[in-house]
Amino acid sequence: MSEKGQVLTANRLRDGEVVFLTRAGTWSENIDEAALAIEKEAAAGLEAQGAKAVAATLVTGAYLFDAERKDGHVRALHIRERIRTLGPTVRMDLGKQAEGTAGAFAALD
């Protein structure tokens, strides 16, 4: 079973870390904690929250991407976003995959 929707992502301003907007309105480094907006209105809501966080200089470059929830985990539909939830596929010792904040799906899953 999977639900499809959209996740709002950005880079944290001070260090560039990839983050995802959660349901609580905070930013998490782990995509599994991201809010998945199923409806268009919900996605617009995430975008509005993102714009606020951008204005508050917490994050920069916020945008929505397509994702699905599968077995309790969130999977980005495009490989680019999956790589962002993990780190470089050629350096498994670096990035979220090495820091315990990785998404559950491999880049090529």
């Binding site: 260090d15 200089t57 596929t89 350096r91 670096l94």
Partner: protein, 552 residues
Amino acid sequence: MYRYDEFDHRFVAERVSQFRDQAARRLSGELTEEEFRPLRLMNGLYLQLHAYMLRVAIPYGTLNGKQMDRLAYIAEKYDRGYGHFTTRQNIQYNWIKLEDTAEILEKLAEVEMHAIQTSGNCIRNVTTDQWAGAAADELADPRPVGELLRQWSSLHPEFSYLPRKFKIAVTGSPHDRAAVRVHDIGLRMHLNDKGERGWEVIVGGGLGRTPFVGVTVRDFLPEAELRAYLEAIMRVYNLYGRRDNKYKARVKILVHELGKEEFQRQVEAEYARKPATNVELDVAELQRIETYFAAPAYEELPKFSTGFENARIQDKEFAQWVKVNVAHHKQQGYAIVNISLKPEGGIPGDATAEQMRVVADLGRRFSFDEIRVSHAQNLVLPHVKRDDLYTVYIALKAHNLASGNIGLAGDIIACPGLDYCALATARSIPIAQGISRRFADVKRQEEIGPLKINISGCINACGHHHVGHIGILGLDKKGEEYYQITLGGSSSDDAAIGSILGPGFAADEVADAIEKILDTYLGLRTGPEETFLLAYRRVGEKPFKEALYANH
């Protein structure tokens, strides 16, 4: 090496303090991202997939041990212990924090380095032959001219907001190792009958979305007129280069839309006005700069080095490495050592902080404290005594720096691609790794002979795939990575843009496809002296197409 004068020091220090202030204002919210973005880009700071990326300039690819040590220090202290040497002879760090950047720039300034003009629509870091000042075939060292152009183009008020970025390459050798025909401006030194230096001026080359080989607008421009003439070119470009469409804004589009004759006519007309010529000043300045690039104090050495010859007989691997990685030096008894940053299955151009320190140390001990970065993403120790080659080799080998594959199938040029780059459409590094593993056997690489494989992760072509003998371009087809192969490109004297062979391949099919291409080549070449490129030019794409697509 060029040393900063008072002006350079002050200018770079001012830049650091300006950036410190700008970053603080961004972090406090005083500046928006739209306001800050051009400021950070002017200082080489990008936002990439996983973090900020800082691109540090290494003018004409030359640096000393202290500078390399500092690059290692930055890799360790502010990044994840490594850096990536690029096809622009620069270094990039992939995990930089905005809040650290001003401090990093300060640390760079302490060793006369910076990240200025490594991005943005300005004249970028001037690149050159990585063997400049050392190559046996060189007419003269092109770096003084590189430095003259660096000084001229740094913060030039008229050329800081060009229609698009602008890249210049210079070479002082008849054998082009600086890819001068595929730059916005390429300069190639010639000597006239009297032994005077002049420069062939090539304009409008470039890769990216619309690749072109440049056209020669002057065959022999007297050296003293170089800056003034380039100024005329820049003026014509600045005036007529398109600003409405960034894909049509490079000078190559202008040159090819106007046609060579009309472009040339406009440049000559502008040049005839002599708006900024002060030739005497240039000549004096060039002479001043040349003293910084004076040849090191070579020893008088015999042609034959017994130690070297003995080592070559005793250690076959060393002999093999020498054959492939060591080049002729202009000074008897010396050699040029090329350090491959392409170990089997490695990431092209990446070096750890420890490896940087090893190279810094070897440079200090054995190469007059000089190191070079090549546009093929390798390093060079330009002036090593033949007597010292074995010691250098052993030290390199201990740090996984002795891959003997320079100029062969394993010496793959690859951009960071989708593993790091925000603009990428597909990954490049894993493709490079796959091919590198497939052709790991040095004997096989040698049998295939000189080969340039270039990989880019998107149409921007930072991996110069158009000029690879075999070029690979990563694209996105409905969310899947796939790879287009081009054949017959070259960035050297016989510069050419490769042609697309046919439909693309999935990531896991690329190494097989390359192998088929090379097997086909081995089957049809007239002999080992007919390189892949020559054979391709003789037979065309047909046999390769048949081999690749016969069963499709």
